[in-house]
Amino acid sequence: MNRTLIGFIKKELTQTLRDKRMRVLLFVMPVIQLTLFGVAISTEVKNIRLAAVFDSKDTVVRHIYERSINGSWFIPARGSGQDPYKLVEADEADAVLVPPPGGFTRSLGRGDAQLQLLVNATNVLQAQAIEGYLKNIIQQTLQDDLNMSQAAPPIRISTRVLFNPALETSIFMVPGTLCMIMIITTMVMANIAIVREKEMGTFEMLISAPVSRSEVIYGKTVPYVILGMSNFPLVLAVAVFIFHVPMRGSLPVIFIAAFAFVCTAVALGTLISTYCKNQQQASLAGFLFMFPMIMFSGLMFPIENIPDAIRWISYLDPLMHYMGLLRNIMLKGGETSYVVTHISILALMAVITVIASFRRFHTTLE
């Protein structure tokens, strides 16, 4: 590496890290955020407020209700005994069990038993989970109460969850949020740093200085690759030591994956910066790219569900590949063909964006 470039990189790093708030933003905030989200978010629906309308003779419904409350998913709703629909509408309960007139217990004896369940479905995921939980609980209660020694079905399908047997949300969520945080500190940083020099007019000075174009480009991008890569061990440590996300793959491989991603993200930021005139535009452009990247990454909802016509957006999303890599390497130990394929895809993306941003850089510099 030549001395101009080293000086350039040093200047860029000093400039960024000089501001104390920036140091906090780059090194403390990611750790805090990762911890916050890791603790807060659970894909398991809990604390569901359940109400049931039943009289004292309706023992089965009472048992269903008690069993639900004693489990870990439901809590009693306030103000039971009102109109069930009103309970949900007034947001006093998330679900209400309504037995048929005359009681559920008696209707079971008659053989035409029906139980109605009202669920607040403004959150679709929550509603589906509530129905699933209650079906199970009702089945168990009926077996216990009526001594229905249900004949075992002739075909039994047992299930086992691989890689995360306790289905802990943090184990799958933390690698995901880690990726989201990293893209903010890389793509957005690189983008705005270049646009800032443009806006302030110092870029013209750079061009007239005796440095080559590629030195300018490397000088403006390499520091952010360094920053991104120094961020990575920090957040990885939070994932492994605080959230006990298993690290089954090899460390060098995960660093290579992170490096490929950081390069892509920084190059993408550089490319975006060539289209922006001022920092206001840069911030909006950052949002324009980052938001879809997060949504299409597979963190919020499964990629398989996206209609075929637009699923290709996911495959163009570096965040999707990186998130897949992190999960695969950390949880599954890194299956060779998968890891190689996706690191190659990231590397290819990095090369393409670097070439494209070089081109754009040159034409905008003329």
């Binding site: 398991e44 479905a121 004949a151 075992a152 289905l167 945080i181 980052m290």
Partner: protein, 372 residues
């Protein structure tokens, strides 16, 4: 302190309007971006998990085992692919070629005919929680169907659970996602629109000019928020039209209530953006702050996808500090439930408090001195 003069605030607004008009990129971003994103994500986001890649290792290779596979295939939830040994199947899950593996042991048919009960096993990929839950749910119903179709077994159906999904009877993902994503997009966009405005003036030196005039901090804040607030309201109107016409999301509530919520919410986040700008005075720092404070918490902690009620107790209180959580409730409830202003009193009160607080703090922190 001098009194608040509307003309001065209006002058600041006028200047800001010129600024927006001169920069068509910002104007387009504020108006087109929300519409564009709602369109894309309205189409893309679907929570009803289908087409789960299921790899099958069928060591039995009999009519019964094939009929079991048929049952899986015809359920519509799974896309079957075949592997040799169980280890190959697990390998496929490890290499992300499949989300779940179905292992049918030899003697499956023999056990079935002998009345011993035929066993099969499903191994689900736990590294992707969003598919695990639904897959586990499907397996139960497939077991019942397969037992009936292959084993001629009728489970004693002793009762019927009739679930009524209120406010979204068909569990349409669009109805759930679109009001939510509107909230998230409006939050981030509003912060970004104002987060740089004051910092930019400091960097350009035009702030010193502004400070030498008799204009008051509150006038600057109001003057800067007003045009962006108007822009945001126009964008929300577009999004609302798209939601109603393109995606057929019902709106059973009162438009005025929703509009009031939008206004309060926009002003709160615009003021938060200004506060960031006032405090940081540097665009680079302001932008990082805006991204960190705006992007991730509104997506992850507002109840957009992950319900607030499922969070640990501490976070149920902590998220109360997030205006997006309150507006999420207002948006969803006015769209789907038709809640009145009274029903949403708490949420509106919270938004009102945040809104006032943001403007107050931004005004107070607006230092009139030139020292950084």
């Amino acid at each position: 302190m001098n009194p608040f003069v509307w003309q001065r605030a209006a002058a600041i607004s006028r200047k800001e309007v010129f600024h927006i008009i001169r920069d068509p990129f910002t104007l387009a971003a504020a108006l087109v971006l929300p519409v564009f994103m709602v369109l894309i994500f309205g189409v893309a986001i679907e929570f009803n998990v289908k087409k789960v890649a299921l790899v099958v290792s069928d060591a039995d290779q009999t009519q019964s085992s094939r009929r079991l596979l048929d049952t899986f295939g015809s359920s519509g939830y799974f896309l079957l692919q075949h592997a040799g040994s169980p280890n190959d199947a697990i390998e496929d899950v490890t290499a992300e070629r499949a989300r779940a593996a179905l292992i049918i042991p030899p003697r499956f048919e023999k056990d079935l005919y002998a009345g011993r009960g035929a066993q099969a096993q499903i191994l689900v990929d736990g590294s992707d929680n969003s598919t695990v839950g639904p897959v586990l749910g499907y397996v139960g119903s497939i077991q019942t169907i397969a037992s009936r179709r292959i084993g001629n077994f009728n489970s004693p159906n002793t009762y019927e659970l009739r679930t009524r999904f209120l406010f979204n009877p068909e569990l349409n993902s669009r109805w759930f996602v679109i009001p939510g994503i509107t909230v998230v997009i409006m939050a981030i966009l509003s912060i970004l629109l104002t987060a740089l405005t004051v910092a930019r003036e400091w960097e350009n030196g035009s702030m010193e000019l502004l400070l030498s005039t008799p204009v008051q901090p509150l006038e600057i804040i109001v003057g800067k928020v007003a045009p962006y607030g108007a822009l945001g309201l126009i964008a929300v109107t577009f999004v609302y039209i798209i939601a109603r016409t393109v995606f057929g999301v019902p709106f059973v509530g009162n438009l005025a209530v929703f509009g009031l919520g939008c206004l309060l919410f926009l002003v709160t986040y615009l003021a938060l953006g200004l506060l960031i700008s006032v405090v940081t005075r540097k665009q680079v720092v302001a932008m990082q702050f805006a991204m960190m404070l705006g992007m991730l918490p509104t997506q992850l902690l507002s109840g957009f996808i992950f319900p607030v009620e499922s969070m640990p107790a501490f976070f149920q209180y902590f998220t109360m500090l997030l205006p997006a959580r309150w507006f999420m409730r207002i948006a969803r409830d006015t769209f789907l439930k038709g809640s009145s202003l009274l029903d949403l009193g708490g949420a509106f009160l919270a938004l009102l408090i945040f809104c006032g607080m943001m403007i107050f703090v931004a005004t107070r922190r607006f230092k009139r001195d030139l020292e950084p």
